[in-house]
Amino acid sequence: MARNHKYQPATLRFGPAIKAALLCIFFGGAGIGYVWQKTQIQHLADQQKRLESRFEELHRQNDKLMRAVAVLCSPRELDERVKKMNLGLVPPQPDQIVRLREVAEPQAHPGSNIDPRSREMVQMYAIHK
């Protein structure tokens, strides 16, 4: 019975249909995949170009700012600004400068919790005194 049923002309043959469908899906998928991949490459290339331009732009801005800082910090520029603004700024004379000597780190008593940074504060206090 089964054998006869197999060769019935009106019966739908799923095997070849699935094969054909799979082939179609494969080729269709490959085609779409190819196009998608190409689109992605183009998209990434555009992105890369944008980022490169941005990077270059930022680099240029950075350079520009660096040059501006250099000009503003140049001794000649500072001198001219001091004169122009009439601030009366002059370098301190040697006898107006207080020099602090680096002192040895104080021996902390056992159990004391003196912060070594307090040395700096002591020195600052010394200046005010």
């Binding site: 040059r67 800082v69 250099a70 000009v71 001794p75 000649r76 001198d79 370098p91 040697p94 020099r99």
Partner: protein, 626 residues
């Protein structure tokens, strides 16, 4: 009949199609096989590009990291005159004021030109350089103007072809090439040390010519290999508007930008020196004035300045005279500052002691048929220390005679005269030190007072630094280190000892003698500072021309160091032909400039003071000590 007619028609159509396909096939074979090589080459020429990517030239910094020289990205603006047609006048009129170019000259460049190539074909010129070193702001103004060019009141009424032609002019007629401009943010500051750059033609993209920056003088030249970097390239394709198609980029090698050179120059001290030289220039009106500031212990050059000077940002406005670094390229007789050599040599050879007495013959000394005079006063018997302090020519000549010619020449060479100092600047000269065999009879009396020998100001300053540095001559150090772009140190240049010139004890004795120069007893009192002891030597040398001395023309100099017993800085100030109305002696002209530079530099560098204001400077009298 109808059937056979249909068949004929069918055959006819088949034939036509066959012929059509045959022709197409032939065309295909022609394009793909027969003319493949030519067309493939043309195709690649149209789309493929090998773009040379020029590196950015490295920065030059001072010892504190201040920017002394840097590079600014700019563009070279070029045009394609072939698409201008008859509109070049209109474009030139609009662009000339923005590009700051002459309208007629610009129109001449934009006008289409035809030329006949070597194969006899007529071609139109498609590339012309309009302007170089165009910065971003200017380029934005140019592109903005081009986009809004108006060729006629209502373009919409024109034909599509004309509209397209106008749009092509707006968008495609101007192209740019990347370039860079060397910028010196401090203008003329340390111009003779930094030097300047020039441009050199180089092949950039598919044979197109571009320009590359090369050092031409100063540090820019000597460190060019570090500063210029290494080129990169990009193998890629472009569209019909010559825009890069990044997706088809095959190779992309990033250029390695130039390294950063860190100099020993301190911009603050350099500014102090240059501002003081400028005021001295206005006061004394010399041909030139030069100053060198050296740290004796390391040989570091902290400042080096010449007047007249130039602005490397605007090289065209300067003369070759102004661009010359006279400190290393000009030689002259040093005058009395050279007495330090003969006295040091005599002390080192135990020929004399500072306390020994010398008869200065009341300022007139006959030797080998010629008369030698003292310049300042007529001295009788002086100690060797006083010979230095009072700068007696007769005394120095007698010490020289006692020392002997061979030993004098040996010590001159030990102090570095007659040889290159080894500074990393181009154009250094060695000076003139004749061998003893070529000396005339009177040379032994002339050389001790700084005649018959020619030195550069740098050599003299280094010789004085050797005395300040306990008798050890250092090589001049101008470059501290070379860094990469991330600030990592690639090369450091440590201090280099050239040789020991005199013993430490002799150097100490010389310091004592040189301290006496800067006292009421000496010729360099004007160099005395409020807070530091100074040791130094004045010098006044008559200028020579045509084999004889010219009256009224002098080199006036002062070389000194401070604090005398623990020297931080050695400063040399040299005037070439100062105005005679205000004196010509080194002690009167150069010493006050030394003092002003030294005081401001000491303040700026926070050099600990030795003595307080109004305290008398105690000059050690070595003769008494002996």
């Amino acid at each position: 009949m109808r059937h056979s007619g249909q068949i004929r028609a069918l055959w006819f159509l088949t034939g036509c199609l066959g012929i059509g396909f045959g022709l197409l096939g032939y065309r295909l074979v022609d394009l793909q096989v027969l003319r493949h090589d030519t067309l493939a080459l043309e195709s690649s020429r149209n789309t493929e590009r090998r773009i040379v990517r020029l590196p950015r030239r490295g920065n030059i910094l001072d010892i504190k990291g201040n920017l002394l020289a840097t590079s600014k990205p700019v563009r070279t603006v070029c045009a394609d005159p072939s698409i201008m047609g008859t509109n070049y006048w209109l474009v030139a009129r609009q662009l000339a004021p923005i590009m700051r170019l002459d309208e007629n000259a610009l129109a001449g460049k934009l006008q289409p030109r035809w030329f006949v190539d070597e194969k006899g074909r007529t071609n139109v010129d498609k590339f012309v350089v309009l302007k170089r070193k165009v910065d971003d702001e200017e380029w934005m103004a140019i592109t903005n103007t081009m986009e809004h060019l108006v060729f006629c009141p209502d373009e919409k009424l024109l034909s599509k072809t004309r509209q397209r032609a106008f749009n092509q002019i707006r968008r495609q007629s101007l192209i740019t090439q990347e370039d860079q401009l060397r910028v010196y943010p401090n203008g003329s500051l340390a111009a003779h040390v930094l030097g300047y750059v020039g441009t050199e033609e180089t092949t950039l993209t598919n044979g197109a010519v571009g320009f590359q920056i090369k050092g031409r003088d100063g540090i820019e030249l000597t460190l060019n290999s570090f500063l210029e970097g290494v080129r990169g390239w990009r193998q890629t394709e472009t569209d019909h508007l010559d825009r890069e198609l990044v997706a088809y980029r095959e190779q992309d090698v990033t250029p390695r930008n130039g390294y950063t050179a860190v100099l020993t120059i301190d911009a603050g001290v350099q500014h102090i020196v240059e501002s003081e030289l400028t005021s001295a220039w206005e006061e004394h009106n010399p041909i030139s004035v030069a100053c060198t500031v050296i740290r004796p212990a390391t040989g570091e050059i902290v400042a080096m300045a010449n007047l007249p000077t130039f602005d490397p940002n605007n090289l065209a406005a300067s003369s070759p005279e102004a661009r010359r670094n006279r400190i290393i390229s000009d030689i002259a007789e040093p005058g009395s500052t050279f007495k330090i050599v003969v006295v040091s040599a005599a002390l080192n050879e135990n020929v004399s002691r500072l306390s020994d007495l010398v008869d200065c013959e009341r300022g007139i000394f006959q030797y080998a048929g010629l008369t030698l005079h003292d310049a300042h006063e007529k001295y009788g018997i002086l100690s060797v220390q006083d010979v230095v302090a009072k700068s007696s020519n007769v005394g120095a000549a007698k010490i020289g005679i006692k020392l002997g010619a061979e030993r004098l020449e040996e010590y001159m060479r030990r102090f570095g005269f007659g040889e290159s100092t080894g500074i990393v600047l181009p154009g250094e000269v060695r000076g003139i030190v004749h061998p003893v065999s070529r000396w005339s009879k009177i040379e032994i009396t002339r050389i001790p007072m700084g005649q018959g020998v020619a030195t550069t100001p740098l050599q003299m300053c280094l010789a004085m630094s050797a005395i300040a540095n306990k008798g050890v001559l250092m090589r001049p150090r101008l470059v501290d280190q070379v860094q990469d772009l991330d600030g990592r140190v690639l090369v450091t240049y440590p201090p280099q000892v050239a040789r020991r010139v005199v013993s430490e004890a002799v150097a100490q004795q010389m310091v004592a003698a040189l301290k006496a120069v800067v006292s009421t007893n000496g010729t360099g009192l004007s160099a005395q500072m409020d807070y530091y002891t100074v040791a130094g030597k004045t010098g006044t040398a008559q200028k020579a021309a045509g084999g004889k001395y010219v009256s009224g023309k002098f080199f006036s100099s002062f070389i000194g160091f401070f604090p005398a017993d623990n020297p931080e800085l050695c400063i040399s100030v040299v005037f070439d032909e100062p105005d005679m109305k205000k004196g010509h002696y080194g002690g009167a002209i150069a010493a006050p400039i030394f003092r002003r530079i030294a005081e401001r530099s000491a303040n700026y560098l926070a050099i600990p003071v030795e003595v307080m204001r109004n305290q008398t400077l105690a000059v050690t009298n070595h003769a008494e000590a002996d």
